[in-house]
Each structure stands twice: as structure tokens, then as C-alpha cells.
Symmetry: C2
Subunit: 308 residues, 2 copies
């Protein structure tokens, strides 16, 4: 199976605790690593988990509350001190570039590698990254300051050639690529084979939606529709719904409702308030609304299965 | 004994490792807490050590390399989020204020407590803090960017009254304070008692000198002379002396030589390069030059004894 997974590096909110790190996640797609948010201490978490951080080439920052980005400058610096030799791409609100630049300036650091900054906006969903196999969209959330979520979406895979059939009609090597892309095949004798005779459907594209800090906000549903995996913050429990609303955060039940309305297959909740020592009750509130709910706990990796 | 101690929160250099935190120390004098440097993750270390960080009212930053201050903004933010209600004083290079202000601005944070910033300079030693019992001086070091050390120096204590003698000559209550300050005493009958007859010498003032990142630099010796405890960086071992010089760092032997020339009573070495897994060999090189050498390892507390 082609790998597509999410590893939780931190899931605390606002202030780190001695048990839980501030927010950071690592998306692995075909062994390419993408980081989402980077709270203080993330580089040490990566080391403890033996993840080689020079493999990370793209970092997406949802917003500029410290628990989501105070670890970024340290990671950028360590990549520099350890002699990184390839580009790093950072995506986030425009002011983040100022913050990075100023901190490099005051330490008189000229990075030994290229750092490319890509400013995000909060007006509407936007394609901000793509490679051959995946694309990443940012989309607006509803928090106290400008905040985006991120949608990681596989591109449709090439069709799978029916090898028995291809051998039978002697498809030449050069034609395979075109057939995989969906073209019909014209044999030397002029007979035409419909693509559907020659191929099987590829696995459907998978997606991971990351809804960072946000109040309950239904407009996201259209963008994250049918996500195979949805992360949605769940800072509070039901009894603090007013508190959540006031602070532009969500409750576990609200996160679960978004998952249900969006037709997500699975929900991860995180960004738990430091007031909660026990996380099971938060999970239970989510499960009451959406059965396939899980806790985004440090060190856990969630694989997104490929359907055949 | 009146408490005067130094707790090591971190002693790595440049990049944190999974074993060692970047630089930070906590000075405790009469149960007042003073922080020196604040590398990334320091607030979590404080939590793990169960040190209530709202008790810290003064933070001294030696220079603006990330391993000495990337944890400051997170600590400032957490103090805010947890409802701090009293002043925090931060001392450091002038650009540090810009870095703090920008990060508070982009997160749209208005601190709930007063943060007073005090800019340091690298021209000459300067008194930057004092209370009734202690003063703190900054002094120039010789690093790649503007860097200061810090000297924590007790003020001379009041003299100790010889209680037997005082009772014998019937010193009235109101006169004690003056006698402690060194004044002679004139009895009701006009007879004069020299202060030296009535008092004992107080314990001599103690001092702690902190020499953050620096090349071998003899001009510090005058300032830190006779320090009871000296922390001096020792990034490298002897075989990398050229490396140390080029990077404006010190070797363990150089740190020890400074300790010996300054007449320090005890030396702590730290800021070890991440290349060293084993620290004993570094310590042995220091001990060859200065017997009273110790490793500044995470979690250790060094008390400065009061001589009588």
C-alpha cells in the first residue's frame, strides 16, 4: 500500500504541559514528510522519535498563536547548523516571514540553505502546493486571528493495466503509459480497444483534512467533504461550550458534528485544554456524536488505508 | 544558611539533543528566582522540575543566538496565559525587545502583566539590577555577536551583634540596627563602645559569575575575580582548540584556566557540543587545569556555601 499517514508530535493547547507538547503533526505521503504547525520543542520531539528532520521539506503553519509556531525558528536554525543542503518551504500567514527574518537577523545568521516562504490568506480555499501525487489546499477557519486549515489530497492515480489482457493483445511497451492515463489503444491491425477493457479502476484518492484552532464553523464542510481522515480541534468539553465560543475554539461534540456533516471516515481530536488530565471523557463526548473518533495523542501514527 | 544556589536547566550548545536541553539556569538567592538564558523548551523543563515559573521576576539573556533565547517568548506567553499579575523584568541586547514585541504583535497579544525590558551593552561592566541583598552586573564577553556575562554578587551583610556583650552593657532595642551597620555605641552614661567590641564580622559576600558563549578572554578575570562559583562555557575539548577559536568558543582547559587565574573557588563547565555523548573526558581536561571543576548537567543544583 502506498503510504499516507499522520503522526502526532503534539496535541496540547496554549501552554505545554509536562505530559503534552504544543501542536505539531507530520504527514507522510509516499515517504515525503510534511509538517503541520510547529509548537515549541517540536525539534526535540522529532529527535526523540528518531525522525530525521532534514527530510521535512514543507512546513505549513495554520496561524500565529505561539503554541502553533514557537518551535519553527529553532527547527529552521538546527537545520542550518546541521548543514542542510536543500530547500525548505514554509507556508503561513504573511507576518510569519517577518518573525523568521528578524530572528535570523538578530543572530546574524545567513542560512546555508534556501528558505522559501509562501504567504497564506484567509479569504477562500487556495491550492498552495502540489507535486505529482498530492496537492495541499489552505482554507479559512474561524479563530480569533487569521487561521487556515490544510487539506492534503491525493491526485487521482493512474489506471491499473489488466496485464493478462495486455499480453493477450500484445500491447507494446510504449503504449502502457498512455493506457494508464486512460487512453484507448489502437492495435497494429487497426482494431480499437476501449480503455475500460484494458484497465481496472485505481484506488480512489485519499485525503487528510486538518482543522486547526477554530470555532464551530460549517463553511469548512464543503472543502473537507468526504475526508478519509479529519483532524479537528476539540479544546473543551460540552460543559464549556460558552467558553469555547467566546475563545473561538470547539468542543469535542462540535468537532464530531463537523466530521459527521462532512462525511469524514475517521476523526482525530486534539488541542486539549491543559485543564484536562484525563482525555477519555473528551473522546466519549465525540464518540456520542461520531463513532469513529480517536484521540490525537503524542507519538501515535494514523494510517489512511487505501481502498481497492 | 542563607540560600544562594544555581540550578542547571540546560547545558547543550547550538542544537538541543534528545538528552540535553539548550542553555538555561536558575539562580536562587534568598528564595528569589533569577533566570539566566532561556533556550527552547525551558518552560517545559521548569514544569518537569516543579518550579513555579511565576516566581521568576528577572530574566537575563546573554546574547541572541537561538540556543540562549528561543524559549523566552514561550515562557512570556505562558506567564500571560496563566494570568500572571506582577512585573517581569527582562535584560538583554536591545534587539531582543523587537523580537518580543513583534511576536506579541503577530499573535495580537496584550500581556496581562507589565514586562519591563532593560537593554544591555557590551562596552564595559555595568550594574543592571540590585535589591537589598544582591546586585547583578553585566560584562562583555568575546563571542561572534554581542554577548555579556552576568555577575551575581551579594551586598555586604550587616555585622552580627555580640549578644552577650550587648546585654551586658544594656544596648537599647533602637540601637541594634545602627550597630549592625557598623556604628559605635554611646551608652547613657556617655561611655563609648567601639563597634568592633560589639559585633562579629558577617559572612563574606558570595558571588556567582556566568560566562556564556565566549572565546578564551582574559579581560573577564578582573570582573569575576574570586567568584565563589564560576560557570564558564566549554564547548570543545583540547583537540578542537582551533575550532573553538574560530567559532569564538572555549575549550574545557581554557575555561579552567580562567577559573584558576580568577581565583574562583569552584568551576562549572557546560554548553557542550552535541558531538560529545560522554562528558567525563571534557571534565577531566578541565580538572587537569583546575581541580574544583564540575559538569553543569541538567537538573543539578549547586549551592554556594556561606563562610563563617
Amino acid at each position: 500500500m502506498i503510504r499516507f499517514s499522520v503522526t502526532i508530535l503534539g496535541s496540547s493547547s496554549a501552554t505545554p504541559t509536562s505530559e503534552r507538547n504544543p501542536t505539531s503533526q507530520l504527514v507522510n505521503h509516499r515517504d515525503k514528510l510534511f509538517m503541520i504547525d510547529c509548537g515549541e520543542g517540536t525539534q526535540v520531539t522529532l529527535r526523540k522519535m528518531k525522525i530525521h528532520f532534514q527530510r521535512i521539506n514543507h512546513i505549513f503553519i495554520s496561524h500565529l498563536h505561539g503554541d502553533h509556531f514557537y518551535g519553527l525558528i529553532g527547527l529552521i536554525s538546527s537545520m542550518h547548523l546541521l548543514g542542510r543542503d536543500h530547500e525548505l518551504h514554509v507556508y503561513g500567514p504573511p507576518e510569519l516571514q517577518e518573525v523568521i527574518d528578524l530572528q535570523l537577523k538578530v543572530s546574524q545568521t545567513t542560512l546555508v540553505y534556501p528558505l522559501n516562504f509562501h504567504a497564506t490568506q484567509c479569504e477562500k480555499p487556495e491550492l498552495i502546493f502540489e507535486n505529482n501525487h498530492m496537492e495541499v489546499l489552505s482554507f479559512p477557519l474561524n479563530h480569533r486571528i487569521a487561521t487556515t486549515g490544510f487539506l492534503f489530497r491525493e491526485k487521482p492515480a493512474l489506471r491499473k493495466v489488466n496485464k493478462d489482457k495486455a499480453l493477450e493483445i500484445k500491447v507494446p511497451a510504449w503504449a502502457y503509459e498512455k493506457i494508464r492515463k486512460g487512453e484507448d489503444f489502437v492495435a497494429e491491425d487497426g482494431s480499437i480497444y476501449q480503455n475500460s477493457e484494458l484497465t481496472f479502476d485505481p484506488p480512489p484518492p485519499r485525503s487528510y483534512a486538518y482543522c486547526s484552532d477554530t470555532a464551530y464553523y460549517e463553511p469548512v464542510i464543503q472543502t473537507i467533504k468526504d475526508a478519509d481522515l479529519l483532524y479537528h480541534e476539540a479544546t473543551f468539553m460540552n460543559d464549556r461550550e460558552a467558553n469555547a465560543k467566546e475563545k473561538f475554539h470547539s468542543t469535542a461534540a462540535q468537532a464530531a458534528r463537523i466530521a459527521r456533516l462532512a462525511g469524514a471516515k475517521k476523526l482525530l481530536i486534539g488541542h486539549f485544554s491543559a485543564r484536562y488530565d484525563e482525555l477519555e471523557p473528551i473522546l466519549n463526548e465525540a464518540k456520542d456524536e461520531f463513532g469513529e473518533s480517536y484521540l490525537a495523542e503524542e507519538g501515535m501514527t494514523f494510517s489512511i488505508p487505501q481502498l481497492t
